[in-house]
Amino acid sequence: MFNALRTEQLIAGIGTTARSAAGASGPPDEYARGQLLSAYSVSRLLAAEVSAEAALLAWLRGELIDALAAAPEDPAAVAAATRIEAAGDALEIGDALVDLLAELRAREAEERVRSSPRIARQSANAPELRTRIHAILREMAGRELAALAVRPERSAAS
């Protein structure tokens, strides 16, 4: 979900590899053959990813907003929820999570060091919320792997 290289960049890369192979003279060496096989693998994985992307993004957004709604008095959680609701893609959700988790980590660390009652009140939900987000991210990784493992020809046939 938080993946570099956009779909169009990957498609262009597959095409470049195919064109390079078509323009080569003589039999391909191991390296050239490996490039072609990798291009095939990218095409298959990309097809699986595109098939699952919208559903996975909707699931992730929904889970995170539900989790953040449990901390309505936490300004960082509220801000993150706003960003996640408005996010156009998973990368923007990733940005919001990085900022939120950094804030929660900092609060927990500060609380450990200072044990200040004021900070303790502010961060009362921090470990719980952070743990909840961890669980969502773990589940997200599992769902993404399962989606990538679907062979596109099977997906199209179903």
Binding site: F2, Q9, I14, V98, R138
Partner: protein, 345 residues
């Protein structure tokens, strides 16, 4: 023998010049085979066959090249020197035959030549190779035994022999190295990676006596032939540090062939975990603390994020056309799953 017509004359001449400079080939030697091999992310690898009327038999070499678009900034000369040191050690590694440090070579970068050991590299992401290793584990365990003993032999090399050759890094320095690279090359912000770095620093293990660490020790970086391990390759990530890094990196499901589906049920695709750890403890005399090994497994995953992230950045900037760099993007979901598991999420 390779197709002679396909040999690049400039590369062949460069290889011969280097071999002659170190007296490993005579004036009438000729390159009769030269092909680029499949493997190599940070290095390009060539199989080079040489016939020399003044020497018996076909001499088979490997050319290791650091390309301009390498995913690692490690020095090829350092790797060459490690191989030289290992020639006197009980670590199965090829003998080297000369190093050309110039970046302007027909190979597209600095290169060195080394003997081509018998045996084949295994790819644990391919089912037949995993099945070969599972068969070894079920009957004989020659590869499994050599693999573990090889790691123990690496960790037994006296660090002073590599003084000035490889860098020494403690836990924090190693974490810092990969984090710095991640921040330098990342194209997207990854909350799992950010949390993992914080988790590592919150759980710093007590230090142990520094050892030679291979840094990329997995069966895919070894040669296997005749049911035994014949060579340990790919030393570009070697350092003096905590030997438990090698154990952790090997324990990653990635090292067992996990991609988007499960890989081998064997640790590192070679052996059951309890057996492997017990044998390592017996061979090395070093205790295995599984909680620390898991920390280093997480660090190994983060190292892969940084290295593959470098490939992705080069590819995105048009500085590399290696489609495997784009492919590596699909490794990340599995690494995130590994990190989540290791951190107990």
């Amino acid at each position: 023998m390779a197709d002679v017509a396909a040999i690049d004359p400039a590369k062949a001449a460069a290889a011969l010049e280097l071999l002659r400079a170190v007296d490993s080939a005579g004036p009438r030697a000729a390159v009769v085979g030269l092909t680029q091999m499949e493997g190599g992310w940070s290095r390009h690898t060539y199989a080079i066959d040489v016939e020399d009327p003044e020497r018996e038999g076909l001499a088979r070499y490997i050319g290791r090249v650091r390309p301009e678009d390498s995913v690692l900034d490690t020095d090829l000369g350092q790797e060459f020197e490690i191989y030289r040191v290992l020639e006197a050690e009980p670590v199965p590694a090829p003998r080297v035959h000369g190093y050309e440090p110039s970046a302007d070579t027909p190979f597209g970068g600095p290169y060195f030549l080394m003997e081509r050991l018998p045996g084949d590299g295994l790819n644990v992401w391919r089912r037949p190779d995993r099945e070969l290793l599972e068969a070894d584990w079920a009957d004989g365990r020659g590869i499994a035994t050599d693999f573990v003993d090889g790691m123990a032999a690496i960790h037994a090399v006296a660090p002073k022999k590599l003084a000035g050759v490889v860098v020494a890094r403690d836990f924090r320095a190693t974490v810092g190295r990969w984090r710095e690279m991640y921040e330098e090359v990342r194209l997207v912000a990854d909350p799992v990676v950010e949390e993992a770095y914080a988790w590592l620093l919150d759980n710093e293990p007590a230090p142990v006596e520094p050892r030679l660490v291979h840094g990329d020790y997995r069966i895919g970086n070894c040669l296997v032939g005749g049911g035994r391990l014949t060579g340990v390759l790919d030393w570009e990530l070697a350092s003096i540090g905590d030997p438990r890094f090698d154990l952790g990196y090997m324990a990653l499901p990635y090292s067992s062939g996990r991609f988007v589906t499960a890989g081998s049920p064997l640790l590192g695709a070679v052996a059951e975990r309890d057996w492997l750890e017990q044998r390592y403890e017996a061979a090395s005399g070093l205790p295995v603390d599984r909680s620390v090994v898991d920390l280093y497994a997480a660090l190994g995953a983060l190292m892969l994020f940084s290295i593959m992230g470098t490939g992705l950045a080069l590819y995105a900037r048009g500085e590399s056309s290696d489609i495997r760099s784009a492919w590596s993007r699909f490794v990340f979901p599995g690494l995130r799953a590994d990190l989540a598991q290791l951190m107990g999420w």
